[in-house]
């Protein structure tokens, strides 16, 4: 926090004012990486009246028709009002309302803006929340969704054909066209996340009808719950914690939650993490809902860790 506060204070003439600071969570990641699913469960956990969620896709600078004549995709910074996104993140962190632009995914149009007033907590998910030092400084906890490309491709085809009116061929061609800008502008945000989240099947179990497993890299950039007390490092356990080196050689705690983890076991772990917060409220039971009644324990624990940090940010 002290470092982030200083970044804010140097930035652009806007000042961080202690008492009005609103705890904020960023969930960055490429298109169709699962950001909305994670966010939805967190909003349900705390209630829509207490938590405000927004998507940075709304800061698209051009509509779908205009983009056809432009040499870049929505993954390019110039295709977005990123300085305005940064400004709005700062204002929300200061407890101020914003008039947020609105991009309609169904039609590809930019429409009239809407008033957004920060609740007790703010979640910002999208392509660019960790884009700049200034934007990162607005958050108490930052996550990056690092899905294997093959799974993300499947998810994106399924969603964009069913909800956004594209054909599968169009989605695949668009993914191809976006690849260089994803590499240049989206994936580098992984380096700036406190938590890197990777959902994937366990090798050899791809064909089983079970939720994807989760690997959470917990970087020592923020104070994580003390999982060493709760979990062992035996990789045969469905939920375990291991000390690893990340791809960049830096040390991380790697929390594995296998898709076949038993709900009772998962619940026990969640209760113990939750107890660390010493809050009066019970552990929310909306965590882990994938849709249509299906549950995922890896998702539940992922959401709980994020929720832990949001609530912890109110306690300083």
């Amino acid at each position: 926090m002290p470092h982030r506060q200083m970044v804010m204070q140097r930035a652009r003439g806007l000042e961080w004012v202690g008492p009005t600071h609103v705890p904020m969570l960023a969930i960055a990641g490429d298109s169709a990486a699962g950001k909305t699913t994670i966010t939805r469960g967190l909003v349900q956990a705390l209630g829509g009246n207490r938590i405000t969620s927004l998507c940075s896709d709304d800061y698209h600078r051009y509509d779908r028709t205009e983009r056809k004549t432009l040499p870049f995709t929505p993954l390019h910074p110039d295709c977005n009002y990123l300085p305005i996104m940064e400004q709005h993140l700062q204002l929300l962190a200061l407890g101020q309302p914003i008039l947020k632009p609105v991009y309609e995914h169904a039609t590809g149009q930019l429409v009239r803006p809407i008033l957004v007033e920060p609740g007790d907590f703010v979640i910002v998910e999208g392509l660019f929340p960790l884009w700049s030092k200034l934007s990162r400084a607005c958050f108490d906890v930052t996550a990056y969704l690092d899905l294997p490309e093959s799974i993300r491709r499947d998810w994106k085809v399924r969603r964009d054909t069913s909800q956004r009116g594209y054909s599968p061929e169009q989605v695949l061609a668009e993914l191809e066209r976006r690849e260089p800008e994803s590499a240049a502008y989206i994936r580098p945000q992984r380096a700036h996340a406190d938590i890197v989240i990777r959902f994937s099947p366990i090798p050899g179990r791809e064909d089983r009808d079970e939720p994807l497993s989760a690997l959470l890299l917990l970087r020592p950039t923020i104070a994580h719950p003390d999982l060493g007390d709760i979990l062992g490092s035996d990789t045969r356990d469905a939920i375990h914690l291991k000390l690893l080196r990340d791809d960049d050689g830096k040390p991380v705690d790697a929390l594995h939650i296998h898709g076949y983890a038993e709900p009772e076991h998962s619940r026990e772990i969640q209760e113990r993490i939750w107890a660390h917060l010493e809050v009066d409220e019970p552990l929310p039971d909306s965590l882990g809902v994938v849709g249509e009644g299906a549950r995922s324990e890896p998702l539940a624990i992922t959401q709980l860790i994020l929720l832990y940090h949001l609530i912890q940010a109110t306690q300083h």
Copy 2:
């Protein structure tokens, strides 16, 4: 300035940063009071690349269709995003860009917002720029257009029937409907202006084909150019300065510019006011243009006084 700076610093966690302060002029007044005409000449005088002008009508909260079901008119504060307007005024004063909402008068619709970056100067005209202490604190000079109601009615009927698709009966009915809110929310802003501007015919000369005269009440809230050196107080002079009490009993300098003032005389006065600024640029010749080649010396001098204050604000 020092007082205004303090107001800004107390306000909402946003801080006034000295070097990035952008000189700002407010032109408040009711609908069809001539705000746009005054603004246009000022923008031409300094050039659209140096001056940014915006209209606070864009902060309407509801579109024309929605307003039909609501118990108030656009003159009601609740019909506008005034806290967002205040926020945007502060950001512009700090040299920051804004994503400004857009209300289309021709269609009555709210459409996608646009990026506005402050130039060397900013003019904000509209119904509400002097609405709150915070909004007023953003400006270096504030003006209120206090047109006689009969003239304003004629102007509004002419404009709204030709440009906004209304019938004369609709415009008059709307004026009737707006009257209580104009009295409650718009006209009180007059009290907070550094300059009150009143265009009107001289009694007995209403039928002559000459521009309206102007009466400028110059309140001692800012440092006006020293007109005592330039002008006498003889009311038979086409341009003269008199010490008066305003309707509220407070002392003001009243600058009269009669519609029949000779262009040469007006020009001489303007040159002498301009010389006070000690700038290298010549007196702009876009001042006083009413449209289609017609000129008004009262308008020219009014615009010059406003321009004087904008430029003076760069010299502190």
